[in-house]
Structures are given as structure tokens and as C-alpha cells.
């Protein structure tokens, strides 16, 4: 039965050259840049002298340190998931219900989105300086002695502040979409405000909670940079352990195994998100978010409380970034506080290769990633061809995997001929494209679900082949998703580190890796200056893309602008 359908689909595809070409090319790319490295990694982890063996895996599981890392990763992820979701929910409620003026709302948005467009370590550095034994806040302000800035809680705090914007972006359209008439009606029926919240608002927001939690859990699971700085030695986590295993103990096998241990929770999260929370993910793209005027369902005191709480958090975030800016402008943070432009001078001279390389790679990856995302999304959502489901899953693999795994896999797979890509830029661009385009893919799929199939059928009935239909009808309509994809690839290209730290080389280096190097060499000034530079560039480009999106006449543009930052 299924075979007959498969044969029919194959025949139909073979008769459609544009479709056939696209499918073949995509499978080639996916095979090369997604499946092959993963296979190499698995081989490396599970074979010894060509024989299959579970020994490295068992060895890792037997190692209490590694087991601890596995458990810690889960605990950290869960904590960050819960805290981040709560924080995101608070922000979302404030943004949609507390009747804030436009300027306050902008402040809130800016503070919430800053962590998302920042290079790694920004929150970590600030926390170290604020909460260490001689920390600015812990010691100077609060008079506490010998507080440790390292360990579980500071890592959790840093990750929560870094990732809660994802929860905010996920929950805001959902809460905004809850018809205030419902709440008003409940109110007019005599329910207390708390009751309304409990019985109307909360239940409707629950799917958003689940999704936000899973997204945050996955982000924390994959976070390599923050624990590197903050986790200390008492709280090992998997991505950092995998990295150290390879770069410190030169133990590829061990590193590969640790990376694969990360696969288990990552895959679980992905599956949960896809099949249980499922379509909710797409609400973030299509939900209409308008500014609601103050809803009567929120008591004035509650509104004030919400605003105060969120403003406090926003101020805290802005404080961290202010600290960063400050560090970039003084000679030696903490020792010599005299003002200097020297660090910026350094990054634009010695650091110029890194800036140039990063921008080149980002600007090349951007359109490629955008097109790839749109094409794959279109094929998956609209066309029937054999292996469609498989393609959908495979295209998501590099996105779902933590960056450390992908980086290690690429390093292993592409070092030797015939595919000796390490040392070049292509490998970095490919890494970015296949890792970060899935946001564009999902945005495209979501958008297409809103666009009726009949439009493409109409085009076909009017004589247009697949390619023409895609070009004349589909592409203009999914332009918002295309721009969202562009934006995400660009942002990530500027701020990613966990995968690409393994892929930099003599000829191609990245700003984020330079930041890490500077931090380990204690050149805090240049590290901060680089960070500020990245933030500014990303903000400018993202604002530009958002503005462009708003100008597009198609209906889904505004929401896609928001998904840009949620990827």
C-alpha cells in the first residue's frame, strides 16, 4: 500500500525536472554536511582498529566525573528551563497586559533581546566581576566576603538571563493572542482577578510554557561558553567536558563519546517539541501581536508589581552590558580605570583579520543559508516526493545537536583528503548554514501553512512549472521567512562559538574565538571591545532587516521579524 504510493510519488518527481534537481542537490548537501560527519563521529566513538566496540562508551559511563557531567547538564537545563520560562512569562505579561507606554515597551524589548544578539561570555564576565569574592556587587555593595562566583547557581543565573528572551518571544504572542474579551467576560461574570488568571489566562498559556521550557532546556544543554567560565570545577557539564576531553586530553574518542551522550537528551527534547508541543511552535510566527491597552483583568497593584519586577531585571541586564562597555574603555579593568581607546584600536588593527573573516563568512553564509532554508521549507511543506519526511528530520539534525558535537564531527570528518576542508572558510560557512538555517526552514513551513495550497495549484493550472511557480508565487509570499532566515544565520554567524571553535584555522579566525582567547589571556579590554563591536553590528543588521520586513506588503512580515530573534 505504502509502496504503491511511493512508486507514484517517485514517478511524479521524475517527471518534474525542477523538483528532481532540487531534491537531488539537497540530499547531496545534507548527506555531505550532516550525515557524513555524524557517521564519522559515531565510527570514531564506537570503533577501535576497525572493530565495533562499546568500550569507550562504557568507560565514559563508568567515569564518575563524566556521569556527574551528564546529570549536571540535565539539572542545569531543567533549572534554566523553569527559571527562564517564568521570567519570560513575567516579561510577556508585562508587555501585553500592564499597559506600558511605547517607550517603556521599547526599553523592555531592548533589554530582553540584548542577550540574544550578543557574543558569548558577556553575562559570564559581568557575573564574575560582580559576584566574585571581591565582586563589585557582592563585596563592594553588599559587604559579603569570599563569595564564590563559580558553580551551579552563577551558571544557572547567567544562562537564565541569556536565554529567557527565547521564552519571552515564544510566550508573548500566545498571551497577546488570548482574547482579552475572554478575560473581560470572566471578570464581568464576577470572578476575582486571581481566579481569572488561574482559570483563563494560565491554561491558555500552557502550551507556550511547554514549548518555552523545551527550547530553553535545549539551549542550556548545548551551552558551552557560559559553563566554561562560570561552572568551576565542582560542576562539570557535558559540552564543556567534551571540549576539554578533546583539546585537553587529546582524546577524540572520549570527546566523541561525551558528545554523543549529549545527543540523548537533545534528541528527546527535539522529539518532545515536535510531536507533543507540535504546532504551537508556529504560533510565534503567525500570531498577530498588537499592543493591547491595559486589560482590566490585571489589578493595578499587580500591574505595578509586574512592571517593577521586569524593569529590575531589565536594569540588571543593562548593567551587565554597561559593565562590558566600561571594561572596553578602561586600560585594565579593576586595576587601572583610566579611559582609553586603545582596546578598540587593538581590535581594529591586530583584530582586523578576525573582524574581516567573521564578516565575510557571515555575509556569505547569510544569503546561502536564507535560500537553503526557504528551499527546504518549501519542499518539505508543499511538495510530495519520496523521502520527504526523512529530509525534514535530517535537515534538523545539526540544529538539534549541541554545537560541540557538530564542531567535533566536522573536525574529524573533514580533516583528511579527499574532503580536507578544515583550514578553509567553506567548512565554517557550511557549519553555520546547516546548523542555523532550520529556523528559516521552520519559519517557511509555518508561513506556508498559512498560505493556501490552491495558490500554487492555480499557478500550475496557468501553465507554470515547479520552478516558475516557486519563483513567481511562493518566493514572494514567503519572503518574510527568507528574511528571518537571513537574520538568524547572520546573528549566529557573528555570535556562535561552540561548534566553530574547532574549525578556526590559520587563515580563518572568528571574533568569538578571539574573545575567548583574549579572555584566557586576560586581555579583558580587547575581549570587551570585540563584544561591543559584535553587539553593535548585529543590532544594526537586525534592525535593518526588521525594518525591511515591516515594509514588505505581505501580511506575515511583522511576525516573522519577531521569529528572527527567536531562532
Amino acid at each position: 500500500m505504502a509502496a504503491r504510493g511511493l512508486a507514484a510519488e517517485t514517478r511524479r518527481m521524475l517527471r518534474d525536472p525542477a523538483l528532481l534537481g532540487a531534491v537531488v542537490v539537497l540530499w547531496l548537501l545534507l548527506g555531505l554536511f550532516v550525515l557524513y560527519p555524524l557517521a564519522e563521529l559515531l565510527v570514531r566513538a564506537f570503533s577501535d582498529e576497525g572493530r565495533f566496540t562499546l568500550e569507550p562508551l562504557l568507560g565514559s559511563l563508568a567515569d564518575s566525573h563524566h556521569r556527574a557531567a551528564f546529570v549536571n547538564s540535565l539539572i542545569l537545563g531543567g533549572t534554566v528551563g523553569v527559571l527562564g520560562t517564568v521570567l519570560g512569562f513575567l516579561f510577556a505579561m508585562t508587555a501585553t497586559r500592564a499597559g506600558l507606554g511605547r517607550h517603556w515597551l521599547t526599553l523592555l524589548d531592548a533589554a530582553a533581546l540584548l542577550p540574544l544578539v550578543s557574543p558569548p561570555f558577556t553575562t559570564s564576565i559581568a557575573i564574575v566581576f560582580s559576584f566574585g569574592p571581591k565582586g563589585f556587587i557582592s563585596h563592594d555593595l553588599l559587604g559579603l566576603d569570599n563569595v564564590s562566583a563559580y558553580g551551579f547557581w552563577s551558571t544557572a543565573l547567567a544562562e537564565t538571563l541569556t536565554y529567557f528572551p527565547i521564552a519571552y518571544l515564544t510566550l508573548r504572542p500566545i498571551i497577546a493572542a488570548i482574547d482579552p474579551n475572554l478575560e473581560e467576560m470572566a471578570f464581568s461574570l464576577g470572578g476575582s482577578r486571581w481566579r481569572i488568571f488561574r482559570t483563563v489566562t494560565l491554561p491558555l498559556a500552557v502550551p507556550g510554557f511547554a514549548n518555552a521550557f523545551l527550547l530553553l532546556f535545549a539551549a542550556s544543554l548545548a551551552d558551552f561558553a557560559t559553563p566554561l567560565i562560570l561552572a568551576g570545577n565542582n560542576f562539570p557539564v557535558l559540552p564543556t567536558q567534551a571540549y576539554l576531553q578533546i583539546t585537553g586530553m587529546f582524546d577524540f574518542k572520549g570527546g566523541a563519546v561525551l558528545s554523543l551522550m549529549l545527543l540523548v537528551p537533545a534528541a528527546a527534547v527535539y522529539l518532545l517539541q515536535r510531536y507533543w508541543v507540535g504546532r504551537r511552535v508556529y504560533v510565534t510566527v503567525t500570531g498577530k501581536v498588537g499592543q493591547r491597552s491595559r486589560s482590566r483583568a490585571i489589578a493595578p497593584w499587580a500591574a505595578v508589581l509586574l512592571v517593577v519586577a521586569t524593569v529590575l531585571v531589565a536594569v540588571a541586564i543593562l548593567y551587565f552590558y554597561a559593565l562590558l562597555l566600561y571594561a572596553s574603555l578602561v586600560v585594565a579593568f579593576g586595576a587601572n580605570n583610566s579611559f582609553t581607546w586603545q582596546h578598540y584600536h587593538v581590535i581594529f588593527t591586530e583584530g582586523l583579520p578576525a573582524i574581516r573573516d567573521t564578516l565575510i563568512i557571515a555575509l556569505i553564509g547569510m544569503p546561502l543559508g536564507g535560500f537553503y532554508g526557504v528551499l527546504v521549507g518549501y519542499l518539505i511543506a508543499r511538495r510530495r516526493f519520496p523521502g520527504r519526511q526523512a529530509m525534514e528530520i535530517v535537515s534538523m539534525i545539526n540544529y538539534a545537536l549541541p554545537g560541540t558535537i557538530v564542531g567535533i564531527a566536522y573536525l574529524i570528518a573533514f580533516n583528511d583528503p579527499p574532503l580536507a576542508l578544515t583550514g578553509g572558510a567553506l567548512i565554517i560557512v557550511a557549519c553555520y548554514i546547516f546548523r542555523y538555517s532550520p529556523t528559516g526552514i521552520r519559519a517557511t513551513v509555518a508561513l506556508l501553512q498559512q498560505i493556501d495550497r490552491s495558490l500554487e495549484e492555480a499557478s500550475a493550472s496557468l501553465g507554470a512549472g515547479s520552478g516558475q511557480t516557486f519563483r513567481r508565487v511562493t518566493l514572494p509570499l514567503i519572503a518574510p521567512a527568507f528574511f528571518a532566515g537571513l537574520g538568524v544565520v547572520f546573528i549566529r554567524s557573528m555570535t556562535a562559538i561552540s561548534a566553530t571553535i574547532f574549525l578556526v584555522s590559520l587563515s580563518w579566525t572568528l571574533i568569538t574565538v578571539r574573545i575567548l582567547e583574549n579572555m584566557t589571556e586576560l586581555a579583558l579590554g580587547p575581549a570587551a571591545a570585540f563584544s561591543v563591536f559584535v553587539i553593535v553590528v548585529v543590532f544594526v543588521v537586525v534592525s535593518g532587516l526588521s525594518a525591511l520586513l515591516m515594509r514588505l506588503r505581505t501580511p506575515m512580515a511583522g511576525a516573522a521579524a519577531r521569529s528572527l530573534l527567536g531562532g
Binding site: 500500500m1 511524479r12 490552491s454 500550475a460 496557468l462 501553465g463 512549472g465 509570499l477
Partner: protein, 349 residues
């Protein structure tokens, strides 16, 4: 005899239902449409008419059977190579293009020169009464106007075949009537072979040359409106087209039958003692005040006619009276004599 323009032979389409397993959406359908003819596929929702239409268009592929257009086998040909024009239920106008560009689309795809396109688009918009709307965007037009643009778009590039998928369902009643007239007159004027899908039997009867009634994936009867109305092949068709009474009768003799105790002269072609099911249209039942007989249960005065529900024996009949100048409206509870006009009776086989 006009050359056959569309032909379906034994076309079937299966799909997998999550609960029922494999189900036939369309089962061994064979149809032919002559050049210039308008054939309507009529039936309740889920009967397979849209699926059949989409297979003619090429949006779906049949699992069995063949489809040919103008003698050419198009069963497995992609939709853009079949030379068909399709009008969708939701119009499917391209939201990002102007009215002009929407209509010009098919011509652009063919690579026609600009001047030709401008002329053709202008002509066809004139034809559907939308001259001057070229610069508008689809969302600025009303439903009826959008549908006319969809129609213009579908015919401007001279397709061989025109297909309509319930194009008027989204319009209000009055507009529906107006639009179906327009569609029919346009179709006749261009002389294009058309297949039209609808669930509205009045619409079907108003515009079709022939109607194929479908039920559960099969064509139940295929003929003119009058064929279907006066000589329905099955009870289903009888009930679907117009209002009807289906009565059991006992054959008394070669030219007499008994219906609910009444002796009715009627040549059934059956022998005495056999039973039959008869179709009697409401306008073929005459009522007259009487002392006994049937009993009026309900009356509905509709202006040009009055509908009655009359209890006769164990059946409730629908009857229609359309001449009031001579007869007053019968009251509820009034006993009436029921007379069946023999020429209006049809035996179901």
C-alpha cells in the same frame, strides 16, 4: 456528433484512512464531456466530485484508469501541461499581484509579448465586467469581483478545458444566482468545454448541459437535468434533485396501481401483485377539498406557490399547488382528495 473533449475511463482514487483503512474516494468513474459542453459533477460533500475534478486538472493522480483530453492521454501529465483553466472555491488570486498581473499570469508564463498581454487582459476584464480594475489589489475587491477575476484569469489564455470547483459556495444567495448566469453565458460565448462541480442541485440544473450525480465515489446517473428530474435512476438521485415523494405501490393490473389505498391509473409495466417504488414530484400531486382522504398537516404559502404536507395512509406527501386564482389555500386538518397525475409518476428500478 461533436468530438469528445474529455474522457475518463474507469478512474479510481484510493487513499488511506486512519480508522477505516483503505478507502475509495473515487471508484471506477467513467465520463465523457463533448467539446463545448458544460458537465456538472453534482453530489453531497465527500462524494468524490472534487477529487474527480482535481484528477482531470492533474492536481491528483488516479490509481486506476485513464484520463484523456482531446484524445491525448493526460493521466500522468503534470497540471501545467494539460491546457486547463481552473477556478477555485476560494478564488486563489495571487495576493501580491495586481488584478492585471493576476489575469496576465498565464500569458506571462507562456512568454507572450507585452502588447498582446495588455490587449488580452483588457478584453477579458471587459468580458467579466471589471474593466478599469487593473491596478487594484485582490484584497480590495468584493467576493463576487474576486471570483470574476479568477474566471478571467482562467480563460484569458485560451485553455482547452475549463474546470470549476464549487466557485460560488462562498457567495451569498443572490450573488450566486447572478454569477452562475454570468458563468454560463461566458462559457457558451467562448464555447469552451467545461466541468463544473457543485453540491447545489438548483445551480447544477440551471447551468448544465449534462449532470453527473455522484455518491460515495461513483457516478450514479449521468444525463440532462430533465433526465435526472423526471427519470431518476435511483432513490438517491430522486431525493437529491428537487423535492420528491417516494412511495411504495402495489400493482393491481397492467394499468392500475394502488398507493396508500388509492387506486391510481398508471401503466407500470409490471404484473399484478408485484410491488414497486414510485417517484412522484410534488407538483404532480393535485389536492382538492373533500370529505375524506388525506389530511393537510402543514401549509407554507410562498407567493407563487403553496407547499403542502399531506398525510395519506402511512405516508406524508409533499405537494405543491401553484394556481391560487382558482383554489383557496387548504387549511390544516382539512381532509383532501389526493390525485396523482400519471405522467408524473416514475418507477424506480
Amino acid at each position: 456528433m461533436a468530438a469528445t473533449s474529455i474522457r475518463l475511463d474507469g478512474v479510481s482514487k484510493r487513499f488511506d484512512h486512519t480508522v477505516k483503512g483503505e478507502v475509495y474516494a473515487v471508484r471506477r468513474v467513467s465520463l465523457s464531456v463533448a467539446t463545448g459542453e458544460l458537465l456538472t459533477l453534482l453530489g453531497p460533500s465527500g462524494c468524490g466530485k472534487s477529487t474527480t475534478l482535481r484528477m482531470i486538472a492533474g492536481f491528483e493522480e488516479p490509481d486506476e484508469g485513464t484520463i484523456s483530453i482531446d484524445g491525448r492521454d493526460v493521466t500522468h501529465v503534470l497540471p501545467n501541461r494539460r491546457g486547463i483553466g481552473f477556478v477555485f472555491q476560494n478564488y486563489a488570486l495571487f495576493p501580491h499581484l495586481s488584478i492585471f498581473e493576476n489575469v496576465a499570469y498565464g500569458l506571462r508564463v507562456q512568454g507572450r509579448p507585452e502588447t498582446e498581454i495588455a490587449r488580452a487582459v483588457g478584453e477579458v476584464l471587459e468580458l467579466v465586467g471589471l474593466a478599469g480594475y487593473e491596478r487594484q489589489q485582490p484584497h480590495q475587491l468584493s467576493g463576487g469581483e474576486q471570483q470574476r477575476v479568477a474566471l478571467a484569469r482562467a480563460v484569458v489564455f485560451h485553455p482547452k478545458v475549463l474546470l470549476f470547483d464549487e466557485p460560488l459556495s462562498n457567495l451569498d444567495a443572490k450573488l450566486r444566482v447572478e454569477m452562475r448566469e454570468q458563468i454560463r453565458s461566458l462559457q457558451k460565448r467562448i464555447g469552451i468545454t467545461t466541468v463544473y462541480v457543485t453540491h447545489d442541485q438548483e445551480e447544477a440544473m440551471a447551468i448544465s448541459d449534462r449532470i453527473a450525480v455522484m455518491d460515495r465515489g461513483e457516478v450514479v446517473q449521468d444525463g440532462t437535468a430533465q433526465d435526472l428530474y423526471y427519470r431518476p435512476a435511483t432513490e438517491f438521485v430522486a431525493r437529491f434533485i428537487g423535492r420528491t415523494n417516494i412511495l411504495g405501490a402495489r400493482v393491481l393490473s397492467a394499468d392500475e396501481v394502488e398507493i396508500e389505498g388509492l387506486k391510481v391509473p398508471f401503466r407500470s409495466g409490471l404484473t399484478a401483485g408485484q410491488t414497486a417504488r414510485l417517484v412522484v414530484r410534488p407538483e404532480m400531486i393535485e389536492l382538492a377539498p373533500a370529505s375524506t382522504g388525506g389530511e393537510v398537516v402543514q401549509h407554507t404559502f410562498l407567493g407563487e406557490k403553496t407547499d403542502y404536507l399531506v398525510k395519506l395512509g402511512s405516508s406524508t406527501l409533499q405537494a405543491t399547488a401553484s394556481d391560487h386564482s382558482r383554489r383557496p389555500i387548504l387549511q390544516i386538518g382539512q381532509p383532501v382528495a389526493v390525485r396523482f397525475h400519471a405522467e408524473g409518476i416514475h418507477i424506480l428500478k
